[in-house]
Amino acid sequence: MKRFGKMRPSGTTSAAEPYTPGEDEILHMAHIVKDYRIGEETFRALDDVTLTVKRGEFLAVLGPSGSGKTTLMNIIGCLDVPTSGDYYLSGKPVRGQREAQLAQIRNKEIGFIFQSFYLLQKQTAYENVELPLIYANMPEKQRRERVEDMLEKVGLGDKMKNFPNQLSGGQQQRVAIARAIATNPTILLADEPTGALDQKTGAQVMELFHALNNEGRTIIMITHDAKIASHASRIVRILDGKLSEGKLEDA
């Protein structure tokens, strides 16, 4: 640790007890604070967030827009770093990394699923799924097998050569899910995965989530929709940057 500047001031409670990850704990956040400066004002998007996620959990983060859930997702997804607080992913601290290292962490640990799919429109379904594997430097032959496996798994084995605009919304989201699981990431991180879909296709995507969860994959789903959140086995609520454990029946 060369970054003295980032060290917690003494007197804060959590610095005293160094975190040792439990066997099943793949994500651990302690006292995460995220401040944004807007002009002279400082806006606190996350306020002392503490969260632990175990392997195989299906967690929903439920909150209205402006509650800080996107900021939380960015930090979980290593797209952003907290102002203060500790974040451990797969037992390793995410702190003081440069963008190149963060990119590698994202590639290895996180599978992103976005509300509006974010597929490259000029590339086929196959090529879209292949992308993170290329960034993982996987050899070509192995890559082809993996891409084909993943597309089969989401039921699009026959659409590999299709471009996104030749696929329905539900099919596009399934391509995006195949892309997210291609690198076998530690966490599937979904941001309003059904937000752009009608109810029926949304339900199909949720079914796919359940299937993936049953395979043992960890899913963190960020949503404002209590009905969608109810698919998860555990729900946390976020409001004004504060996180609270919710109950299933509240949803």
Partner: protein, 400 residues
């Protein structure tokens, strides 16, 4: 390595896709590069071809030749026979050929032709210049006997002999009967092409002493010196100066020596200067083209901000994004460069046809053009690529 090959292949495909989807924009972007490279290749090739053709004419005319003009002094005009013998003995001199020029009237078939150019030469002129088309050259006995013989040129045959057989006919020059013994070749050299001979009825070559008599001169004032093979023109020129200084008692301006070799050196210098200058102008076009590329790439980066954000979220390191965009710029430039090479060759070909010089594109010009366009791609693609690589993934993903 695999990473790089993939990035190259991926970038190649993406940039080709981009070029196809934005045909007009891509074409306009590449136009600067196309014009620049076409100009580099076209102009350099034109200058090189023109120079080599001119130099070829020079060397045909004057390889190993020095021209001496010796008006002499008030006391001693021109050069006497004895002086010519002295010059012949100068080290490195293979031959001395006087040139006596004048004009006279010719009478043939009861018609008078007023404008006939007469040049006096000796037998050595014919030994070192291949000018006889048919008949024979003037020889040593023609010289020693002051025989009235002449060689006519093509104009003489057309205008005066009306195209009939020349050798064996006689023509009256300045009142004396001359026997036509030979016909000269058509003079196709660059110099004859630019000298105005339209008012001449024709020209003849006669023994130089006859020409001296005809022009009321006693001495020779103009001559060609043939330099021995292997001797340097400059050295021989130096030796000649020594001898001529003695002949004229070091009088200023008594003689002048024209060295075609130094003229050729000058030509070469001028042509390489011209190449550099034209290359510089074309280089400006390339820079302008580069700015076009930079503009297009900046637009491309901001249009594809979301794509960049996604790639970053999926694990693309900044360096990889930078390589991708840099390669796209280079590929765009090289495609422009290739089109430019084609246009440049076309310009060179048309130029060669118009100037009637042989068409040859030097590979170095093509390499220069392509190398330059790749360099332009790298230089002007750098900033946009850097910008792309530095985008914050969150902002990039959120961009619309």
């Amino acid at each position: 390595m695999r990473k790089l090959i993939y990035t190259v292949r991926q970038s190649l495909r993406i940039s080709v896709q981009n070029i196809i989807t934005n045909k007009m924009r891509s074409f306009l972007t590449m136009l600067g590069i196309i014009i620049g490279v076409a100009a580099v290749i076209g102009l350099i090739t034109l200058v090189q071809n023109a120079t080599s053709s001119i130099l070829g004419q020079f060397s045909e005319l004057g390889a190993g030749t020095l021209s001496v003009s010796a008006p002499g002094t008030a006391m001693k005009q021109g050069l006497t026979d004895a002086d010519l013998k002295t010059l012949m003995a100068v080290p490195g001199v293979k031959g001395v050929s006087p040139q006596v020029s004048g004009s006279t009237a010719a009478v043939y078939d009861f018609k008078v032709y007023d404008n006939v150019s007469v040049t006096g030469r000796n037998e050595l002129y014919f030994a070192y210049n291949d000018v006889v088309e048919s008949g024979r050259a003037l020889n040593a006995s023609d010289m020693s006997g002051n025989i009235n013989v002449c060689l006519i040129d093509q104009d003489f045959r057309t205008n005066i002999l009306k195209g009939t057989e020349a050798v064996g006919k006689t023509v009256r020059l300045n009142g004396a009967e001359y026997l036509i013994v030979g016909v000269q070749k058509q003079d196709n050299s660059l110099f004859s092409a630019y000298s105005d001979r339209s008012n001449l009825d024709g020209s003849v070559i006669i023994p130089y002493k006859n020409a001296l008599t005809m022009s009321w001169n006693k001495n020779v004032t103009s001559l060609d010196i043939y330099v021995e093979d292997g001797a340097s023109n400059a050295d021989v020129e130096e030796n000649l100066r020594e001898t001529l200084d003695k002949i004229y008692n070091n009088t200023e301006g008594a003689y002048q020596i024209f060295n075609l070799d130094s003229l050729m050196d000058t030509m070469n210098t001028v042509s390489s200067m011209l190449s550099t200058m034209l290359g510089g102008i074309a280089g400006i076009a390339l820079v302008v083209g580069g700015i076009g590329i930079m503009n297009m790439m900046l637009v491309s980066v901001s249009e594809r901000t979301k794509e960049i954000g996604l790639r970053k979220a999926l694990g693309a390191e900044p360096a990889r994004i930078q390589t991708q965009f840099l390669l796209e710029a280079v590929i765009l430039s090289i495609i422009g460069g290739l089109i430019g090479v084609l246009f440049g060759c076309l310009i060179a070909l048309i130029g060669a046809r118009l100037m009637d010089t042989p068409f040859a594109v030097s590979p170095s010009a093509i390499a220069l053009g392509l190398g330059f366009s790749a360099a332009v791609g790298i230089i002007f693609g750098w900033a946009p690529a850097r910008r792309a690589s530095r985008l914050n993934p969150i902002d990039a993903l959120r961009a619309e």
